[in-house]
Amino acid sequence: MSNRKPETGAFFQRDRQWHPPAYTPEYKTSVVRSPQRALISFDNTLSEITGPVFGHSMLGELDADLIYNYAKPGESAIGQRIIVHGRVVDERGKGVAGALLEFWQANAGGRYRHKREGYLAALDPNFGGCGRTITDDDGYYRFRTVKPGAYPWPNGVNDWRPAHIHFSVFGHGFAQRLITQMYFEGDPMIWNCPIVKSIPDKAAIEQLIAALDMNNTIPMDARAYKFDIVLRGRRSTLFENRMEGN
């Protein structure tokens, strides 16, 4: 993003019919953690238009390689080796360069490395479950991991999360900040999940399902899934009465 002129316009209004609403009682924890009063709207100010940007220099060599970034020397994580790749663009289709992506997930058996987690599936001593990367000049990213397992959670008596990878995404403005989850093509668990179903529109759910991408598979090594991410677009100028940049 170094040689591009920074954009300073306000972001397009978020479509809150497309995103999940706050109150989705089938996902039980949302019942007491959802505001009851209306959100108060105002057009972006500088506080929302600006945002932190992170340099590639902060990344460690293995930050985007979950198979090896927690493994002991000479060892690697157990599970189906996959590459997850895609492009971060905004609603105008423009690549978002320099976007920080952080991701986390359970291991191949569905077990998270977290002290609050008590699922009986075993920890993998060579798998931590966290990674991060920064998109290149065209908005592309790529990381390597093992495919996470489904895991049970105390919501309904027999609720299981589909295999998923959590994504945290920074664009260029703090108003673009987004956390979401990526699911895998063909997983029948997707359509049973109360967290997935917090999203009202089937087309919006499908936007979270990564496609198996055989063209990017590495033969005899790892399969690939493609997951593109769309952040809010922005208007062309900060000041409506001064058409800068047009």
Partner: protein, 204 residues
């Protein structure tokens, strides 16, 4: 038929879940040796300009129970009112201040705490000055899309009274939910997700 606008739809949000720490603050989650430090744990250094303050508080659910699994991020201007962002065209922000911080609520006490500086004033789009404020973004298990609010300061009454965002809040009795209370060198800002004391959240 008319021409297609061709805009894409934003990727829909999903909850950060109870294990957000694994990805965002792995050292806090006791996953060590992957990243040297958790991102956003430090906003200032010895050379940072401005008045040092801390911001602390808790986040409560609709039953009055504090969240022990929330993650907060803040974004603010430096002491002179400039943002450390490429989209800041009014000047260069203090290079010793990141403007961005991230803090999980404590798994025992439920408290969050940021060591930062008091922000300077930033103009609204019509040129009026906004009162000093900090933008807050909250995610947690049970929160389907991040909640955005602002922290204002109780010792900035004059500026708060003129703030263009605070002025447009119809229900004046809710404005105090956005005002942090000074306690020595720190400000206390508790967040109520739901109920009688519900904090104002923004759609911006």
């Amino acid at each position: 038929m008319v021409q297609q606008l061709g805009y894409l739809k934003e990727t829909p949000s999903q909850t950060a879940g109870p294990y957000v720490h694994i990805g965002c603050t792995p050292n806090f989650a006791e996953i060590t040796g992957v990243y040297e430090n958790d991102l956003g744990i430090s906003m200032v250094n010895d050379k940072t300009l401005g008045e040092r303050i801390s911001l602390r508080g808790r986040v409560f659910d609709g039953t009055g129970t504090p969240l022990r699994d929330a993650l907060l991020e803040i974004w603010q201007a430096d002491s002179k009112g400039l943002y450390n962002s490429p989209s800041e065209l009014r000047g260069s922000a203090d290079p010793n201040f990141t403007g961005w911080g991230r803090c999980p609520t404590d798994m025992e006490t439920a408290e969050y705490r940021f060591e930062t500086v008091k922000p300077g004033q930033v103009p609204f789009k019509d040129g009026r000055m906004m009162a000093p404020h900090v933008t807050v973004w909250i995610v947690a298990r049970g929160i389907n899309i991040g909640l955005q609010t602002r922290i204002y300061f109780d010792d900035e009454k004059e500026a708060n009274d003129k703030d263009p965002i605070l002025q447009r809040i119809e229900h004046r009795n809710r404005v105090p939910t956005l005002i942090a209370k000074r306690d020595g060198s720190s400000y206390v800002f508790d967040i109520y997700l739901q109920g009688d004391k519900e904090t104002i959240f923004f759609d911006v």
